[in-house]
C-alpha cells in the first residue's frame, strides 16, 4: 500500500546520499540513479517510507546512493527479503533493484514467486546482458554466441527474455525502458510505483566495460526512432522517424507485421491499438526485436489485482476481529487440562 504523507517539498538532493558513486565512468546506472532521485520527489513520496532492497551485482549498489532506507542483501535474494519487509510493514514503498544475473540466474526462483504472489514491490531489473561485477562472464540474457571469459568460443545456450519471464510468472505490471530514455523513464517509475502489486520494469542498461553497445541496434541515436516503439495504452502501435510505421496483425494469424502507413492502402485504422490489459498482446509485443521489428518500450502490460500482503492482512484482520483480544493463559489452558494440588 503506497500511503504517503508528504510533509515537506523534497528535491533530487534530498534523495542523494553523501556516498561517492562507484560505478565505472559512463555506466548506464548513473542515468537510472539520477532519474530515480529526480522522480521520487515528483511522486511526493517521503524518504522514511521508501526502502530500496538489492541483491548482489553492479546494480545492487544502488541503495547506497539513495537517501532513503536501503538494504544491500545477498545474491538473488532481494525479492524474498523485500517480501519480508512488506509482510512486516505493508505501508512501506519497497523498490527492488536487481540485474540480469541476480534476478534471472541465482535469484530466478524468488523473482518468479514475488511476481506470481503479486507482492506490492517495484522491481527494477537492470539488464546489461553480462556479469559486470565478476568481470564479464555471459549472463542468462546474453545472446547466443557471446564471447566472454567463461565462453571464449561463444555461449551456446538460449537466453531468457526478462519481460516474458515476468509475464509467464504472472506479473500484472510489465514495462520496459532504456537507461538513456530520460524522457519516459520517469513516467515508467511513476506508474510502476502507482501500480498495486508487483511491478516489473526491465531497463536496458549499457555496460560500458564488458558489453558496450550490446543494445546499440535500437538505442543508437540514428537508429533509435526506427527501432523503438513506445507503447501507449489505447493508441495505435506507431513508430519511426516519420511516425508512419506501425504494427498490424497479419491477417489470419497471431503474428505481427510491420507496415507503413500510406503505403499499399494501409491507414492508421489498420494499425493495432495497444491494450495494456491484454496478456496475449503483451506476450506478442515482448517477443519482438530488431532488426525485423522495433523493440517495444513503455508499459506493455498492466492489469491490477489485489496484492499479496494486502490479502494476508485482510485475512489476519478478519481472524483477529473474530477472536478478539487474546488472553495467553486462557489460550494455553484450552483443551484437556488437569489440576494437581
Amino acid at each position: 500500500m503506497n500511503v504517503q504523507t508528504p510533509a515537506e517539498k523534497l528535491t533530487l538532493k534530498d534523495f542523494s546520499t553523501d556516498q561517492e558513486v562507484r560505478w565505472c565512468p559512463g555506466c548506464g546506472d548513473y542515468a537510472i540513479l539520477k532519474c530515480m532521485q529526480r522522480t521520487l520527489p515528483q511522486m511526493g513520496v517521503s524518504r522514511e517510507n521508501t526502502v530500496f532492497v538489492s541483491g548482489i551485482g553492479c546494480a545492487a549498489r544502488f541503495p547506497y546512493y539513495m537517501e532513503t532506507y536501503g538494504f544491500h542483501t545477498i545474491h538473488g535474494r532481494a525479492p524474498a527479503i523485500a517480501t519480508g519487509v512488506k509482510l512486516a510493514n505493508p505501508e512501506l514503498d519497497v523498490w527492488v533493484v536487481t540485474g540480469d544475473g541476480d534476478a534471472l540466474s541465482i535469484g530466478g526462483n524468488h523473482l518468479m514467486h514475488a511476481l506470481r504472489r503479486n507482492v506490492d514491490l517495484n522491481i527494477l531489473l537492470f539488464n546489461n546482458e553480462i556479469y559486470g561485477l565478476t568481470k564479464g562472464q555471459y549472463s542468462p540474457t546474453s545472446h547466443p554466441g557471446t564471447r566472454s571469459p567463461s565462453t571464449p568460443y561463444g555461449s551456446v545456450d538460449s537466453p531468457l527474455n526478462p519481460c516474458r519471464f515476468a509475464l509467464g510468472s504472472g506479473a500484472r505490471f510489465v514495462a520496459r525502458t532504456v537507461d538513456t530514455a530520460q524522457k519516459h523513464m520517469p513516467e515508467i517509475f511513476t506508474r510502476a510505483h502507482a501500480h498495486q502489486g508487483a511491478s516489473f520494469v526491465e531497463i536496458f542498461q549499457n555496460c560500458i566495460v564488458y558489453n558496450d553497445g550490446v543494445f546499440s541496434d535500437f538505442t543508437d541515436k540514428p537508429v533509435a526512432a526506427d527501432a523503438q516503439l513506445l507503447a501507449v495504452h489505447g493508441e495505435p502501435l506507431i513508430f519511426g522517424k516519420e511516425k508512419n510505421k506501425g504494427l498490424r496483425l497479419k491477417p489470419g494469424t497471431l503474428a505481427l507485421e510491420v507496415v507503413t502507413i500510406g503505403e499499399e492502402g494501409v491507414s492508421v485504422e489498420d494499425i493495432l491499438v495497444h491494450d495494456q490489459t491484454s496478456e496475449t498482446m503483451a506476450f506478442i509485443l515482448t517477443k519482438l526485436s530488431p532488426p525485423d521489428f522495433p523493440m517495444v518500450l513503455g508499459v506493455i502490460y498492466e492489469d491490477p489485482a489485489s496484492s499479496y500482503e494486502r490479502d494476508v492482512y485482510r485475512q489476519y484482520e478478519s481472524v483477529r476481529k473474530e477472536r478478539g483480544t487474546p488472553d495467553f493463559n486462557a489460550f494455553l489452558a484450552k483443551g484437556d487440562t488437569w489440576r494437581v494440588s
Partner: protein
C-alpha cells in the same frame, strides 16, 4: 509389585504397577498416531507422569501391510515423573503381521503382545515377507500373547451404521484404544468428548468410532470375568501443584515464540518452507493470528530465512524454521543477519543426516552446523531444548537474546522432542519477564545523518532503526561496514576490529545467561555425564538409577551451546571423568575439548532412535569400573 523396563522387569501378573511402556503399532493407514495420542490424553488426565515417542515412516501411504509402512507410537507412563518413552515395551499392540515383525525384537521375554488375528492371513504374510504364521510357529513362545480378532469385532461393533468394510475397519484403532483404556483403568469420557468434537459434522463416523471404543472396553470387562485378561492400575505421579496439559515440543516451541512476541509487544513474522519434522511449527503458528503473528510459506528455504530477515529489518521479530538440509540452505542469509546485526531466530528441528538422511528419525548431528556452519568468522548464539515443555522457555529466551544483542539465534531441537508429548505445568504468562525492544525514535528533519552503527557499550548491540521512522534513513548490507559510521569500509584495521566486535558481542552473552548448574547429583565427584538436547530424559533417568545404586555420578545438561555458561569449564574440572552421550559421532565433545582441553569420553548413537536408559547406565558402570581399575 512394580515394573520398570529400564531395569528389565516385566509387567506383573496383575495389580498396581509403577510404570508401563506400551507400544502401539500397525499399518500407516491404521490410525496408530491418533490411537497413541488419545491414549496419551487419557493417561495425562489420570494424572500419571508420561513420555511418548511417535515413530512413523517417511512414506505417507506406504503399500498396505508392508514392513516399511509400519507406524508406531510408544508411551511410557507411571506414578512418578517419567523421563523417556521407555527402553523396552511391556505391551505391544500389533494391528497387523508387519507391525509384529518389525517390533517384536524390541520386547523382553514375558512381555504382553496383543495381536489382531483378523489380519494374520496369508496375503498379509506375503506383503510383510513372513514365511510362517508367527502365531502358530512357536516363535512367540516366550511372550504372553493375547490373540483377538480385532478386525472382526470392530466390524460387528459398527455394523448398525451401515459402513462399507473398509470404512468400518477404520474404527479398529478405537476398538484397540477401548481395550487399552480398560486394561489400564483410564476414563473413556474425554475420548468420547473428543470424538464428538472431531466428527461433529459426520455423525455416522462419530457414532461408529464411539461404538468401537465402547466395544473394545466391554471386551476387556467380559474377558476379565472369564479370567482371560488382567487389569492394571498405574497411580498418579506426584507433580508440582498447578494446572497441567500434555504438550509436544512443536506446540511448546510455537507457543513460546508467540509468547515472546507478546512479551516484546512486537509482531512476529514466521517464514518457513515445509520440511519434516519442522512443519508442525508452521501449521500451529498459522492458526495463531490473534497473537500478532504473520506466517509465510516461502518458495524455498532460502526465501524463508530471507523473508524473516526482511521482516526483522522492518521492525518485526523474524523467525524461520527448518531441519538440517534446509538449515544448510539458509547459511548465507544467517551470515547476512550476523553482518547487518539484525535479530532473527532460526529453529532447527534436527533429523538424521547427512543429506536427506532419515527424515522422520531423530539425531543431534547439526551441532557443528549450528556453531560453525557459515562462511567467515560468523559467531551466533545456539540454544538447545531438552524436553517438549522446555521448548516454550527456550523460544522465549532465543527471542530475548536476538533482540537484546541484535543477532540471529539458533534453537536446536529435534524430531523426537518435536513429536513427543509430556505433561506440562502451564506457565503463568503474566509472570514472564517482558522483553525490551529498543527501536530508535524518530528524529527531526535537518538533524545530522543517522548513524546505524552506534552500539550499546555494554552489550555491543547495534541500534535497531525501523524503516518508516522519520530521520533514521540509512543503508546496511553484507559488505563490511565502518565501525564508526556504518558506511562500506574495506579498511584492513576496520575489518579486524569489526570481526572482534562480532566475536566479543556473542561471547559477552555468557555474562547474561545463568551459570551452569548440576541437574542431578553432586557439584564434584568421580563422573559427570554431560549432555545437551533430547538426551536429557535418558541421562536424567540413568543417573538417578546409578546414584540409587550408590554410584558417584552427576548429570550436567547444557541449554547454552554457544556461548557456554561462564562457569562451565571450572565446573567440569571438578570431576575425575566426563562422559558425553550424544546422538551423533561426537560433536559436543569436540566443542568442549576445543574450549577446555578436556579429557572426555564419547558415547555415540546414530541409529535414528533415542538412547535407551540402559545404554547410558551401562556406560556409567563402564566408566566407573575403569576408573576403579586405574
Amino acid at each position: 509389585m512394580q515394573t520398570d523396563s529400564e531395569t528389565g522387569k516385566n509387567l506383573p501378573t496383575t495389580g498396581d504397577v509403577e510404570s508401563v511402556v506400551i507400544r502401539f503399532a500397525g499399518d500407516s493407514g491404521d490410525g496408530i498416531q491418533l490411537l497413541g495420542a488419545q491414549f496419551t490424553t487419557s493417561t495425562a488426565l489420570a494424572g500419571s507422569g508420561l513420555s511418548t515417542f511417535p515413530d512413523f515412516p517417511a512414506e505417507i501411504r506406504a503399500p498396505l501391510g508392508t514392513t516399511f509402512g509400519v507406524s508406531a507410537y510408544q508411551i511410557k507412563f507411571g506414578a512418578r515423573k517419567i523421563f523417556t518413552s521407555g527402553d523396552q515395551p511391556d505391551v505391544l499392540v500389533a494391528l497387523n503381521p508387519a507391525a509384529l515383525k518389525v517390533n517384536v525384537g524390541l520386547l523382553l521375554e514375558g512381555s504382553l503382545i496383543v495381536v489382531d488375528t483378523g489380519t494374520f492371513v496369508e496375503r498379509n504374510f506375503k506383503k510383510a515377507h513372513i514365511e510362517a504364521d508367527p502365531l502358530e510357529d512357536g516363535s512367540l513362545a516366550k511372550f504372553q500373547v493375547l490373540k483377538i480378532d480385532i478386525s472382526r469385532l470392530t466390524m460387528e461393533a459398527v455394523k448398525e451404521f451401515g459402513l462399507g468394510n473398509k470404512d468400518a475397519l477404520r474404527s479398529k484403532n478405537l476398538w484397540a484404544l477401548g481395550l487399552m483404556l480398560w486394561m489400564f483403568d483410564h476414563d473413556r469420557a474425554p475420548i468420547i468428548e473428543w470424538l464428538n468434537r472431531k466428527f461433529a459434522k459426520n455423525e455416522n463416523i462419530r457414532d461408529a468410532n464411539i461404538a468401537a471404543l465402547n466395544a473394545g472396553h466391554a471386551f476387556g470387562e467380559t474377558s476379565e470375568l472369564s479370567g482371560d485378561m488382567r487389569r492394571y492400575t498405574v497411580g498418579a505421579a506426584s507433580l508440582e501443584p498447578g494446572l497441567y496439559r500434555t504438550v509436544t515440543g512443536a506446540q511448546a516451541l510455537s507457543w513460546g515464540l508467540a509468547a515472546a512476541g507478546q512479551l516484546a509487544k512486537t509482531p512476529l513474522v514466521f517464514c518457513s518452507y515445509p520440511i519434516t519434522p519442522a512443519s508442525p511449527i508452521l501449521h500451529l503458528l498459522a492458526q495463531m493470528k490473534e497473537f500478532d503473528i504473520v506466517t509465510f510459506q516461502a518458495e524455498d528455504e532460502i526465501a524463508a530465512v530471507c523473508a524473516a530477515l526482511g521482516a526483522s529489518y522492518a521492525g518485526s521479530i523474524g523467525v524461520t524454521s527448518s531441519s538440517g538440509p534446509g538449515i544448510a540452505l539458509k547459511g548465507e542469509a544467517m551470515g547476512l543477519a550476523i553482518s547487518t546485526e539484525l535479530p532473527l531466530v532460526i529453529v532447527n528441528s534436527q533429523r538424521g543426516g547427512p543429506s536427506t538422511g532419515l527424515p522422520t528419525k531423530t539425531e543431534q548431528s547439526d551441532l557443528y552446523q549450528a556453531v560453525y556452519g557459515r562462511n567467515g568468522d560468523a559467531p551466533m548464539p545456539v540454544l538447545a531444548t531438552r524436553s517438549p515443555g522446555d521448548c516454550f522457555f527456550i523460544a522465549v529466551e532465543a527471542v530475548r537474546l536476538a533482540i537484546k544483542y541484535m543477532t540471529p539465534v539458533m534453537i536446536l531441537t529435534d524430531g523426537y522432542i518435536g513429536n513427543a508429548a509430556e505433561p506440562w505445568k502451564l506457565p503463568d504468562f503474566n509472570a514472564l519477564d517482558p522483553i525490551a525492544v529498543p527501536h530508535v525514535a524518530a528524529r527531526p528533519s535537518g538533524a545530522e545523518p543517522f548513524n546505524p552503527s552506534v552500539r550499546d557499550p555494554e552489550t555491543l548491540a547495534r541500534v535497531w532503526a525501523k524503516p518508516g521512522t522519520k530521520g533514521l534513513e540509512h543503508r546496511i548490507g553484507g559488505i563490511e561496514k565502518s565501525h564508526e559510521t556504518g558506511h562500506i569500509s574495506y579498511d584492513p584495521a576496520n575489518h579486524q576490529k569489526m570481526t572482534q566486535v562480532r566475536r566479543d558481542k556473542i561471547a559477552g552473552i555468557a555474562k547474561d545467561i545463568p551459570p551452569q548448574e548440576v541437574d542431578f547429583g553432586e557439584e564434584s565427584g568421580r563422573l559427570a555425564v554431560i549432555g545437551w538436547g533430547s538426551t536429557y530424559g535418558p541421562i536424567a533417568r540413568a543417573v538417578r538409577i546409578a546414584r540409587s545404586e550408590g554410584h558417584d555420578v552427576s548429570h550436567i545438561h547444557l541449554t547454552y551451546i554457544n556461548p557456554f555458561p561462564e562457569n562451565l569449564g571450572e565446573l567440569l574440572s571438578r570431576f575425575d571423568r566426563i562422559l558425553v552421550p550424544e546422538m551423533n559421532m561426537g560433536q559436543l565433545i569436540t566443542v568442549l575439548r576445543d574450549h577446555f582441553l578436556l579429557q572426555a569420553i564419547s558415547l555415540c548413537k546414530v541409529s535414528g532412535q533415542p538412547f535407551k536408559i540402559s545404554e547410558i547406565i551401562e556406560a556409567i558402570h563402564g566408566q566407573l569400573s575403569l576408573q576403579a581399575a586405574e
